[in-house]
């Protein structure tokens, strides 16, 4: 724990405590049947979308590059994980985590293969080329025999049983927490700062001795890995996957979460992912109008808040507490001691 200030430790401990409290709260509610299977599935989808949004935020927010093919990595991860658990002769409890890791690794491999040529481009051209790769992955999955073509894979088993809905929740929740943690620490690490430097000015970053290709690829592959894991979770959550579930619209959906929440803000991505997953479900009564409303909300937010809801700012509990404290102290002293 060397190099960690007392404050940092406290912040870690409180955050961990909050995460655990949240987990046990939901666990208890699901276990007791207060949250039925519809809502627990919804909660799982929220977590999966949070994972996807946070992973895309790594490329779009930190690296500042537009990617329109994130669903392609998700597809690769989903199929790899599902094929593994379907064909291997292991109990699902063992096969599932291995399948997830395999899904992530295969997606990362695809990220590497796509990233090496694609990351030479930037801005809109990168967006277009990732769109192209995403579509190609989908079309190929539509035509291979191992992926069962357009019919897709079915019978992908969930860890949940009819009596117990908690195992999937445990997985998605803790993976989501872990991914968020990795993202926060990556953003403040040496590697993360290099990536942010590339976002701010690529030429200046290169002139300062940052190996731009390496760091761009690093962020890209990491995001692909996480998207692959999320794909694996997604496959086992819904049980049936076919290529049309991972089309261009899915990529757009994830991108919308990131941009709406504020590019570069992990808190923003999380909030947007939660809201945008629940909103369409909540509007089910107005089924005909919900997508219309969704698009109007999207346009209005972009028009009046072009940087997204949170911009680049993050919410941190310790800073929030500090603010309240210092706010009170300032009133007393009138002149603060800033420095």
């Amino acid at each position: 724990m060397a190099g960690m200030t007392k404050k940092k430790i406290i912040s870690y401990v409180t955050n961990l405590a909050i995460v655990l409290i949240l987990y046990f709260l939901f666990y208890f509610l699901i276990r007791q049947g207060v949250i039925n299977s519809y809502y627990s599935d919804l909660i799982n989808m929220v977590c999966i979308n949070v994972i996807l949004a946070v992973s895309l935020n790594m490329v779009t927010g930190l690296l500042g590059q537009l990617v329109l093919g994130h669903a392609g990595f998700m597809l690769v991860g989903a199929y790899s994980a599902a094929l593994f658990t379907l064909h291997i002769n292991l109990p699902l409890v063992v096969a599932f985590p291995i399948g997830l890791i395999i899904g992530g690794l295969v997606a990362a491999l695809f990220g590497m293969i796509i990233g090496i040529p694609a990351l030479r481009l930037r801005g809109d051209y990168l967006a277009i080329i990732t769109l192209g790769f995403g579509e190609i992955i989908r079309v190929i999955a539509n035509n291979l025999t191992i992926t069962n073509g357009a019919k897709g894979l079915y019978g992908v088993q969930s860890l949940n049983s009819r009596q117990n809905l908690t195992p999937m929740f445990t997985y998605v929740f803790f993976i989501a927490v872990f991914v968020i943690f990795i993202n926060f620490t990556f953003g403040t690490s040496r590697h993360g700062r290099a990536v942010i430097a590339i976002r701010e000015d690529e030429i200046a970053a290169e002139a300062s001795g940052i190996h731009t290709t390496y760091y761009k690829l690093l962020a890209f592959v990491l995001a692909a890995f996480i998207a692959g894991v999320a794909g694996g979770l997604f496959a086992h959550q819904i049980g049936i996957i076919d290529p049309s579930k991972f089309d261009f619209n899915r990529s757009v959906e994830i991108l919308v979460m990131v941009v709406l929440g504020g590019m570069g803000s992990i808190t923003g991505s999380i909030i947007a992912a939660v809201v945008l997953t629940i909103l369409p479900e909540a509007l089910r009564d107005f089924a005909d109008y919900r997508m219309l409303l969704y698009s109007i909300v999207l346009i209005c937010v972009m028009l009046f808040r072009p940087t997204g809801l949170l911009g680049r700012s993050e919410f941190s509990l310790t800073k929030f507490v500090d603010k309240i404290k210092s706010g009170g102290a300032k009133k007393k002293q009138n002149v603060g001691k800033e420095g």
Binding site: L66, G123, I129, L131, G132, E135, N143, S295, P306
Partner: protein
Amino acid sequence: MDFFTQIINGLGIGSIYALIALGYSMVYGIVQLINFAHGDIIMVGAYVVFVVLVTLNLPLWLAVLGSIIFCGLAGVVIERVAYHRLLVHDAPRISLLITAIGVSIFLQNLFQLLFGSDAKSMPRMFTFSPLQLGALQITSSTLLNIAVSVLMMAGLQLLVNKSKIGKAMRATSEDAGAAKLMGINTNTTIAFTFGIGSALAAVGAVLYCNTYPQIKPIMGGMLGLKAFVAAVLGGIGSIPGAMLGGYILGVAESLTNAYISSNLTDAVVFGILIVVLLVKPTGLLGKNVREKV
């Protein structure tokens, strides 16, 4: 002979892509926006034709004219309502892109609500006898597509290079700030560009309905995406480039359908895009701009 038939057919489809690609290309050239809503303008154009021709039972020329005018106006309105504020405030480009996606979702769902999500079939529109060149037969729709697209491109080229508003468009796309200082009303110019692009999309829509007589609210998605690929292929911002890209794409698609597999068409289309972007990122006829520090 079969090979040549496929090529001619490809040129026919490519003409539609080319017309739509022109709109993408012009808008990108002037405001650097990938206008994802452009594909849905085609859908709007197709439905206007449908309403005028079938519901109101009016003559064909009125349907075509109505569709072109309606789409042109729709393009201007969309620019004013959805993009203008962002363009004026110099917002991040990605916000503009998301807004365009929002407009696209809006249009699709609006028309789904108005007309239902099922496909509507169009009546036959332009009928004249096919052209016979030896053993080669060219269908009337293919002939019409090619003729109209070439005509449109020539007209557009004249408009951009010879007219006053065309000069303003070129100036705005080169440097909007400097154009403003020279007394060019850049706002009007941008709106005009959106209008012209959308009107061309309407022409594309008419040709599309004539070739494939079936329309539905989500038809704009893939069509728009492919037209966009055509624009990038030829070099975005370049009018002849958009045409060239459209033709190449159409022919490639047609040949894949005939000789490889119709399931892999989209993969080939995007494969070509990737290869071109990697070899010559600015497209076949695009200008190379070096980034300076």
